[in-house]
């Protein structure tokens, strides 16, 4: 901490002072910002680059973060992208922030989490529900390059007695970055009756206010946080919480946490698209260089698997894009899409990339020649939190909404989602936490599938998979028969299966929306072609158990050509087609 103010209870006049940005950041569009970060991270293929594939792998073997990684991100000012523009930072849309951090995840997920996503996730509490003072203090802290830890879950081991002021006793679970964080977001349970009742309270605690020694370091192996990132715990004994530390109201912790989770939890899967990107690029590079026992480009297995992984990656990116943009554009409607993304995005990435192992032929276990990078990214994807707890929360959000949405929505008559949802890098209004709702009144996303029922020939898509539209109608019929507002009838494997079907249909609709937006933009390019859309939808149909017509050879050729081009030219394989690690001077020339 460099500032003398307190996070808690900052006087109003002090807030006014810091409300004015201390420095005016030079304006920078999202694509330029990504290019600038790529230039800092450097060429992934350069063996001498500590942030290149070989350097990252060597660091992982040493049990370290890559050499110079965090200082490079600090000098770039990546932390400015976690602070909303109104507070002097660069954060506009969460979709842009995730796409930017994805560049770090393409190198090393641990670096991305330790430097970025952990702080961004915790900072969403003050951004969504903090007072002006709490937001200003958080901005000041992050803009100074400090970290915020915590906020991942309600702390079962830390209790607050319900008095005023609150007093805390107990210890938290392992918190990523806690030993080096300048502030912590913790959500203790209330011990019993008192001023705060039975609930929980979200607290933003400044490290400097905590008693000495309250934050202990933990071995990452003991607490299930990723190795290579410092982890710690907060241990307190009857400690009095400073005035003004509560985010929201005392006892509202669950209320605040659930709404923040709606915005926070889809972020990491979106960043993890970067891990799948690098894994696919590593395999493609091995194929193109015809190394060792790896199958060649003419192999059926290679072609089918590479195209499948590429299509799944794009589908995952489409659902992430729609979800993160909806948090800004349609916050009242975003709950169901956020849950679908949390349920599905990581799985799409894991399934697409996991199958690439078959391409490695007799080299499948080798980790030389760049294949170590593939295995590392597969491991990182498998270890991406929150694991099953995440799908439990996603199911709990999806399930109760299905009977209601089936009655109110999912037909061609419903109002469609805003076209702005589907435009990468399109402007969005600032996040308004108070507008986030846990249940959506209608669902304009899957309406796209219902409207496509009679085909999209007039939009240049000759063979729309009508099975998807039929599946939405079938899901609607099934869910309409379920009683509304009756958890007991829903919380069973039949209900879980319906939720998964919905999530897959939402992903299909997101793909259709992104394709249509690219087409209407009239700028041409790969995203406006039907090849990727129909391949991605075909894979979703297979997952739904729907009959699929054989994949068109033309589409496979288009997909492969695009993947190979991006690999050869060093571009990302997601929706953004970002040039990787190009030094700034080269970009200006080109």
């Amino acid at each position: 901490m460099t500032e003398a103010g307190t996070v808690a209870g900052v006087p109003v006049d002090a807030v006014r002072q810091v409300g004015v940005p201390r420095q005016v950041l030079p304006p920078c569009g999202p694509a330029e910002r990504r290019a600038a970060l790529e230039a800092v991270l450097g060429d992934p293929g350069d063996a001498a680059n500590p942030l290149g594939d070989a350097g990252v792998l060597a660091a992982e073997r040493r049990g370290d973060l890559p050499l110079g990684g965090e200082p490079s991100l600090a000098s770039f000012g990546l932390h400015e992208d976690f602070v909303p523009e109104e507070h002097g930072g660069r954060l506009a849309g969460l979709d842009e922030a995730a796409a930017l951090l994805r560049a770090v995840f393409r190198r090393d997920a641990a670096l991305g989490r330790g430097y970025g996503s952990a702080s961004l996730g915790a900072a969403l509490y003050p951004w969504c529900f903090g007072t002006a003072g709490q937001r200003a203090a958080t901005a000041r802290l992050l803009l100074a390059g400090e970290r915020i830890a915590g906020g991942a879950a309600v702390e079962e081991g830390l209790t607050a007695d319900g008095g005023a002021p609150l007093r805390l006793t107990g210890r938290t679970a392992g918190l990523v970055n806690a030993p080096r964080a300048a502030a912590l977001v913790v959500v203790p349970r209330h011990a019993g009756p008192g001023a705060g009742g039975d609930g929980e309270s979200v607290l933003l605690l400044r490290r400097g206010d905590l008693p000495p020694g309250a934050v202990g370091q933990l071995s990452p192996y003991d607490v299930g946080v990723p190795p290579r990132i410092p982890a710690g715990e907060l241990v307190l004994d009857d400690w009095t919480v400073p005035a003004g530390a509560v985010i929201g109201e005392v006892g509202d912790g669950q209320w605040v946490t659930r709404r923040v989770a709606q915005a926070r939890l889809p972020l990491l899967p979106s960043m993890a698209v970067g891990c799948a990107d690098t894994a696919l690029r590593a395999v493609l590079t091995a194929v193109l260089t015809e190394r060792g026992g790896v199958r060649g480009m003419r192999s059926r297995v290679t072609r089918r698997t590479v195209v499948g992984a590429f299509a799944d990656l794009l589908a995952a990116d489409c659902l992430s894009l729609v979800t993160l943009r909806s948090l800004h554009l349609m916050p009242e409607r975003s709950s169901i899409w956020s849950a679908a993304a949390r349920y599905l995005v990581l799985r799409l990435l894991q399934e697409g990339v996991g199958d690439l192992m078959t391409v490695l032929g007799t080299d499948s276990l080798r980790d030389g020649d760049g294949l170590g990078t593939f295995h590392k990214q597969v491991r990182d994807l498998a270890a991406m939190p929150p694991g099953p707890a995440g799908s439990a929360a996603a199911l709990a959000t999806l399930l109760p909404q299905l009977p209601t949405l089936a009655r109110r929505s999912w037909t061609a008559q419903g109002p469609p989602a805003l076209a702005e949802l589907f435009r990468p890098d399109g402007p969005v209004p600032p996040l308004a936490g108070a507008r986030l709702k846990l249940a959506a009144a209608d669902d304009g996303l899957t309406v796209l599938l219902a409207r496509a029922r009679d085909g999209l020939a007039d939009e240049g898509l000759a063979n729309w998979p009508t099975a998807l539209s039929d599946e939405l109608a079938a899901l609607r019929d099934q869910c309409r028969r379920l009683p509304e507002l009756d958890p007991a009838v829903l919380a069973n494997p039949r209900g879980f299966a319906l939720s998964e079907r919905y999530a897959l249909l939402a992903a299909a609709a997101a793909c259709l929306g992104v394709w249509r937006a690219a087409r209407r933009a009239g700028t041409g390019g790969f995203l406006a072609e039907p090849a990727w859309l129909l391949t991605a939808l075909g894979r979703i149909c297979v997952r739904l158990g729907l009959p699929v017509t054989a994949a068109s050879a033309d589409h496979e050729d288009v997909m492969l050509a695009e993947a190979v081009r991006r690999c050869r030219e060093g571009h990302s394989l997601d929706l953004y087609d970002t040039a990787l690690g190009t030094p700034a001077r080269h970009r200006e020339k080109g």
């Binding site: 026992g293 192992m357 007799t362 709990a396 959000t397």
Partner: protein, 296 residues
């Protein structure tokens, strides 16, 4: 959470009817993270002809009808019966509520119940299933006396190191050893969802000296490979068949049971419902009601 290392888990549970008893399987999944069970199609045949079959097969009923040959159709039905009744016992759910779906690579899973991974295998009359609340699981079963050694099979499935190791075994043990290696490789690639597309000669296994010791993953050079926390084991079923299983690690698996009702956050579910109900009330009143009201 990592899989047990070095030792094989409890022997596969033999089950003769949908009624189980399944406690040993639930217990194995609860305590060790994964469980194995098997049944004989001939013993399960009455259940496979029962009226409940259609409801139990659900989406797969059409596929069942399309299977050629009565015996193959019965085996298809029995494999689903064993899998769904076993999984339902572990999940505390109704077997007819479980939907067996497939990933694009063909790997089966229980739709919406990804926390309990499943694998199926059959040979002749034997149907085997594996259930895991850790990482992915793969099982494979083959008759022990199936001619393998000397048929050229070991050329297709074994690394040079494995073939050399087979040569060190007494002549009479070599066939069983090839079957064991083969089933291990099938189980591992099934767990990965890659099937035969992954070259069986790109990895190898040790030949353990005792039955309870777990085989280790080897590279093509015969040296121990980084198995990433995978666990492998082989069992003999009724002195007739070899069953191998591969279980992947789970970075996030919680200890204990995988009860279906525990798969959702019930407090969150109630909060979502409260929010929905407010919307329903709001449609007759003020715009959007107080969807942000703080009682949810």
């Amino acid at each position: 959470m990592s899989v047990r290392r070095g030792l094989a888990g409890p022997p596969p549970l033999r089950v003769t009817s949908p009624d189980g008893p399944w406690e040993a399987l639930s217990g194995a999944v609860r305590d060790g993270g994964y469980g194995l069970a098997y049944g004989l199609a001939s013993e399960w045949a009455p259940a496979a002809r029962g009226p409940a079959l259609r409801g139990l097969l659900g989406h797969e009923y059409g596929r069942y009808l399309a299977v050629n040959g009565e015996e193959a159709r019965a085996r298809f039905a029995v494999s689903r019966l064993v899998l769904k009744h076993g999984a339902a016992a572990v999940l505390g759910a109704d077997p007819a509520d479980l939907e067996l779906a497939r990933r694009p690579n063909g790997r089966p899973y229980l739709r919406g119940c990804g926390r309990l991974d499943v694998s199926l295998s059959h040979t002749g009359d034997v149907v085997a299933v594996g259930l895991s609340r850790l990482g992915p699981i793969g099982v494979d079963v083959e008759p022990q006396d199936r001619a393998a050694y000397g048929t050229g099979l070991e050329e297709d499935v074994c690394t040079a190191h494995e073939r050399a190791a087979l040569g060190w075994l007494p002549e009479e043990d070599r066939n069983a050893a090839v079957i064991r290696l083969w089933t291990l490789k099938e189980a591992y690639t099934k767990a990965l969802g890659l099937g035969m597309r992954l070259s069986f000669r790109s990895f190898g296994f040790t030949t353990p000296s005792t039955r309870t010791a777990a085989p280790r993953l080897l590279g093509t050079d015969g040296l121990p490979a980084d198995d990433g926390g995978w666990h492998f084991e082989t069992h003999t079923l009724d002195d007739r068949c070899t069953l191998s299983a591969a279980v992947g690690p789970a970075p996030h698996a919680a200890a204990g049971t995988v009860d279906a009702s525990g798969m959702v956050d019930s407090g969150l579910m109630r909060a979502v419902m409260t929010c929905s109900r407010k919307d329903a009330l709001a449609t007759t009143g003020a715009e959007d009601g107080d969807g942000t009201g703080r009682t949810a």
